[in-house]
């Protein structure tokens, strides 16, 4: 426990160090931040353009799709902010600088997740958060304590699921030369998928996100409950509340993959 706390503290220190470094060039910082905000906002512009021609997408209204967009973007954004730096692990493995990380008395994950912490990634968080707030105002959900709990758990579990995909995916860098794209297809690609209602996809794809890489638990399933919609797959209704369980399973799987990666690095070297 003390070790975990020490790891977290070191992560925090590394993060602060990089924020300070980024703020040393304020103009550059704000420009990349605005660029990030704009780039992630474009997705939503596309959705709005679609709704100029139609009133519903797969049976979902604009505020409902905005809810999906906001929750998907916010959870991915938070995961990306906290552990997204891990996708640079490939470069470190290739240059052999993982060695310098492994000789320090702090878990490699804590050091690598904070490496080159990019505060500009907060752009996606802010933009998605704004869309989410707008959708909540428009939807005017009849809030109950259970709904509030499911909403908070959606954000937490979603962030954990995406974070696990980042960690688990980057563990492949220890085995493969270029795993960044595989990982990106699940994180950034997955988040784009989750911006749209599940009803517009083929059933097998949706099934894959429930039982394969469990992205459906990020927002689709809890949204069915929050927005009071029917499940296109006809799954038992308790699936809508199972996101925390899915998140914990993801965290465990990612932890296992990471350990295996580090161990394999140790027996093969760079």
């Amino acid at each position: 426990m003390a070790e975990a706390l020490h790891a977290l503290r070191c992560y925090g220190h590394i993060v602060r160090m990089w924020i300070r470094a980024a703020l040393a060039y304020p103009a550059s910082f704000w420009m990349t931040m605005l660029g990030n905000l704009g780039a992630s906002g474009m997705d939503f512009v596309i959705i709005i353009v679609m709704f100029l021609h139609t009133h519903a997408l797969g049976g979902w209204s604009l505020p409902q799709v905005a809810f999906l967009y906001g929750t998907s973007g916010l959870t991915l954004g938070l995961a990306d902010l906290f552990v997204g730096s891990l996708d640079q692990l490939g470069v470190r493995v290739r240059e052999g600088s993982v060695d310098t990380i492994l000789v320090r008395p702090v878990p490699a994950l804590a050091q690598l997740a904070g490496d080159r912490f990019a505060l500009r990634r907060i752009g996606r968080v802010a933009q998605s958060g704004a869309v989410l707030v707008w959708s909540l105002v428009q939807l005017d959900l009849a809030w109950t304590p259970l709904k509030a709990l499911v909403f908070v758990s959606l954000l937490l579990s979603g962030t954990l699921i995406f974070g696990s995909v980042f960690v688990g995916g980057s563990a492949f860098h220890f085995f493969m030369a270029d795993a960044a794209e595989v990982q990106n297809s699940f994180t950034y690609g997955g988040a784009t998928m989750l911006q749209y209602p599940p009803t517009i996809y083929a059933r097998d794809i949706v099934r894959g996100t429930v039982f394969g890489v469990p992205l459906a638990f990020v927002n689709w399933l809890p949204a069915l409950y929050l927005l009071g919609r029917n499940d296109p797959l006809g799954l038992p209704s308790w699936f809508r509340f199972a996101s925390p369980v899915a998140a914990l399973l993801c965290v465990a799987a990612a932890g296992l993959l990471w350990r295996t990666g580090v161990r394999s690095y140790r027996s093969t070297g760079s």
Binding site: H13, M17, W18, G96, T100, L102, V106, R266
Partner: protein, 328 residues
């Protein structure tokens, strides 16, 4: 001071290398980077670890630091298994990889030290004392606020060495600490290391290509070749084992055919000058006396053997173990 700190017993490390052989076939080769190492290092020793490229020097350092798991054999540092107790041992060791920095590239040097302070949980007084010492002896004061990427290689290396010592490690591993440095930087680094070893009793294991490092720093040298230790002892013994020869350069009164002298042989003749080789372990005095009695001499001098030559001869003589076992 005689306590054993590092124990290495029958340690091997082999890697599987896959190569394309033809369009579809791939061969699998097992390469033995380290093929049976045995040695111990006592606390406070300063040991030079030399060998040609690919001899297994870096692999050894990686196994000692817990980065790499040995294939077979037993390895202990301060009684602990470096791989299993990596995080705990990391607290007690310092590592400098000459060719890759542990410093944070885009941040001022000082930030890397502040981070080390957190990572190693260094108490304030210890941190200040060690940082001050390093800043003074390695002349780092003007560099502290410069981003690491702007430092020269020599400056960066000094910065790296300081970073490895702030937590007062018991053992310091240096992998090629003087590689690519200019003469002045090399001297400064060597003086500093000698000081750390003398003042703090830090055990130092350094791999190097530069034999001057060894001559100036290490009382003990281990030569590794093809994954085996081929010599372990003092520098003097190295000359004996390498059957090194000293050279007597004589200037004769007039041109003569090669001189005859028991215990020495002429290796070169040039006009009135002749080069005579004799074993480094033998004394030059009787040879000179004998020579003077037989011939008229104008001048003479004795040349010490070049350690590079001694080592090169040792590499040539080391038996080549089977390096690869091809299979499908």
């Amino acid at each position: 001071m005689n306590e054993t700190l590092i124990e290495v017993e029958g340690v091997t490390k082999s890697f599987v290398v896959r190569r394309r052989a033809g369009r579809f076939r791939r061969t699998r080769e097992e390469v033995h980077a380290v093929a049976g190492l045995d040695f111990t290092v006592r606390r406070g020793e300063m040991v030079g670890y030399i060998g040609p490229n690919g001899a297994g020097k870096s692999t050894t350092v990686k196994m000692l630091t817990g980065i790499l798991l040995p294939s077979t054999g037993r390895l202990r540092v301060a009684g602990a298994d470096p791989v299993r107790d990596r995080v705990r041992l990391a607290q007690r060791m310092g590592v400098v990889f000459g060719q890759r920095t542990t410093l944070w590239w885009d941040l001022p040097l000082r930030d890397s030290y502040e981070l080390a302070r957190r990572i190693y949980r260094i108490p304030d007084a210890t941190y200040t004392r060690n940082l001050d010492r390093c800043v003074e002896l390695l002349e780092l004061a003007p560099l502290l606020d410069v981003p690491v990427r702007q430092l020269s290689l020599g400056q960066r290396m000094r910065g790296d060495i300081a970073a490895a010592l702030l937590h007062e490690p018991e053992v310091l591993y240096l992998d090629e600490p003087t590689i690519g440095l200019d003469v002045v930087s090399k001297r400064r680094v060597r003086e500093f290391l000698a000081r750390v070893n003398a003042d703090l009793g830090t055990t130092v294991l350094l791999t190097t290509h530069d034999l001057t490092d060894i001559e100036q720093l290490c009382s003990r040298v281990m030569v590794i070749d093809h994954g085996r230790v081929v010599y372990d002892g003092g520098l003097d013994g190295l000359h004996e084992q390498g059957r090194s020869e000293r050279t007597l350069v004589v200037e004769l009164e007039r041109e003569l055919p090669p001189v005859e002298l028991p215990g020495a042989r002429v290796v070169r003749c040039e006009g009135t000058r002749q080069w005579l080789a004799f074993p480094a372990s033998a004394s030059a005095a009787p040879l000179v006396a004998e020579l003077a009695a037989r011939y008229e001499l104008r001048d003479l001098s004795v040349r010490e053997p070049e350690i590079e030559d001694v080592i090169a001869r040792m590499y040539e003589e080391a038996e080549r173990p089977v390096a690869a076992v091809p299979s499908h």
